[in-house]
Amino acid sequence: MKRYKRIILVDDNETAIFLNRDVVKEFFSEIEVIAFTNSQEFLEEALKTDEWFSESTLVLLDINMPGLFGFDTLERIEEERDGEFEKFEVVMVTSSDLKRDNEMAQRFSCVMGYIIKPMRAENFMKVLKNTEVGKF
């Protein structure tokens, strides 16, 4: 199993954070888990926190959020942190099963997986295995 330094949960819904944290803790009980219910706050933090890009970091990112969408957030991060995605991995966790959203996710080099809510231990495991290969 891949080792991460930290896992970041971004979802505007607190219950989704609660659920995802529980699944994540099942696999990485000792790891630091940071949660954001606001994508704007997550973006601001990502733009100024170098460790997220120099140490192995996994982000579980929702798509449909008020104010700033998941993909818009990623676009901004990719713009500002050009080519720093060796250690910054993102998995989209969303209730959208739209083909359009899945295709959109694949366009981002840092996105390693796509999970439809509710996230379960099984599909999180599957995506973790895939991130080792580096694609979905």
Binding site: D22, G67, L68
Partner: protein, 292 residues
């Protein structure tokens, strides 16, 4: 004899000529009438085309609105259903582990999700009742009762979050639709909550005041705020009726409900916001004090 015949013939020709002239003027008249009628008709067609265009534009706008609203609701419903499924699975996991504390936490979240689900159903009902008199029912509103109703609705969103929610309702009696005031206040307050800042103690002020011919409703917070100078500001796009495609995405259904109320009641909205300082939303609804 011949002379007489010629004279008669001349008379006949004269009278024929007279009749001919009469006939011609008659024809001319009816041509003019016809032309006038044709012009009038064309004008009527032009006007009704113009009207149809306008109606069509209005319908298109409504259709876009309903589509977005519907999409928003369906998306939210889906999210909460996913949460419910996840919570139930989690519940069984911790039940087997006999973890009392977690089971309590899960139960709270279950209650929250069910409440959220039921507010979505309210949203669908709002959507279907928006064209009937439902929201138009006016009642005598008591400021304390209104405050209590809103606090109750906001309460389940708080989830133990600390918050200073202040109400300032500057009226003793008000004869108005409680439904409209409730939808506006609850949605503005929950938006303020959603965009609160972690580093400061959240203060939200809700204010209602009666002006000479308007109801003034304001909700101010000290939350994240936004950059309104951004031409692309989504809030403006949503409330700008000149904009054909007022984008829905990224908004809760709440702002849509407010927009719908404003459109229907010729209300106005003003938004002031500064990044990291907060947002103030002011709404004006026409209101006739005498009639009320």
């Amino acid at each position: 004899m011949l002379k007489r015949q010629i004279r008669n013939a001349k008379l006949s020709i004269d009278s024929l000529e007279g009749e001919w002239i009469n006939l011609m003027s008659l024809v001319n008249n009816s041509y003019q009438n016809f032309d006038e009628e044709r012009r009038l008709h064309q004008r009527a067609v032009d006007i009704s085309n113009e009207e149809l265009k306008e109606i069509n534009h209005e319908l298109e706008k409504q259709n876009d609105f309903l589509k977005s609203f519907n999409y928003g609701l369906a998306h939210d419903a889906r999210n909460h259903t996913a949460n419910l499924k996840g919570l139930i699975r989690m519940f069984y996991k911790y039940k087997n582990l006999e973890d009392r504390e977690m089971i309590d936490a899960i139960s709270q979240k279950l209650e929250l999700s069910v409440n959220q689900m039921s507010s979505i159903i309210d949203g669908f009902l709002f959507l279907s009742s928006v064209e009937n008199a439902d929201e138009g029912i006016k009642k005598e509103i008591d400021p304390d009762a209104l405050e209590e109703m809103i606090r109750l609705e906001i309460d389940y969103l708080l989830q133990g979050k600390k918050l200073d929610l202040q109400f300032e309702f500057d009226f003793e009696h008000l004869h108005y639709s409680p439904h409209i005031l409730r939808v506006i206040l609850v949605n503005l307050i929950s938006n303020s909550l959603k965009f609160s800042r972690r580093e400061v103690h959240t203060v939200i002020k809700a204010h209602i005041q009666l002006l000479s011919n308007k109801i003034f409703i304001q909700v101010a917070d000290n939350g994240m705020g936004m950059n309104l100078e951004d031409q692309d500001s989504k809030v403006f796009r949503l409330f700008d009726n000149r904009n054909k495609k007022s984008k829905s995405k990224g908004f809760g259904i709440g702002l849509f409900m407010i927009k719908r109320i404003l459109d229907k009641n010729q209300g106005e909205i003003a938004i002031e916001s500064k990044l990291k300082q907060g947002t103030t939303v002011s709404i004006y609804l026409p209101f006739n004090r005498i009639e009320a």
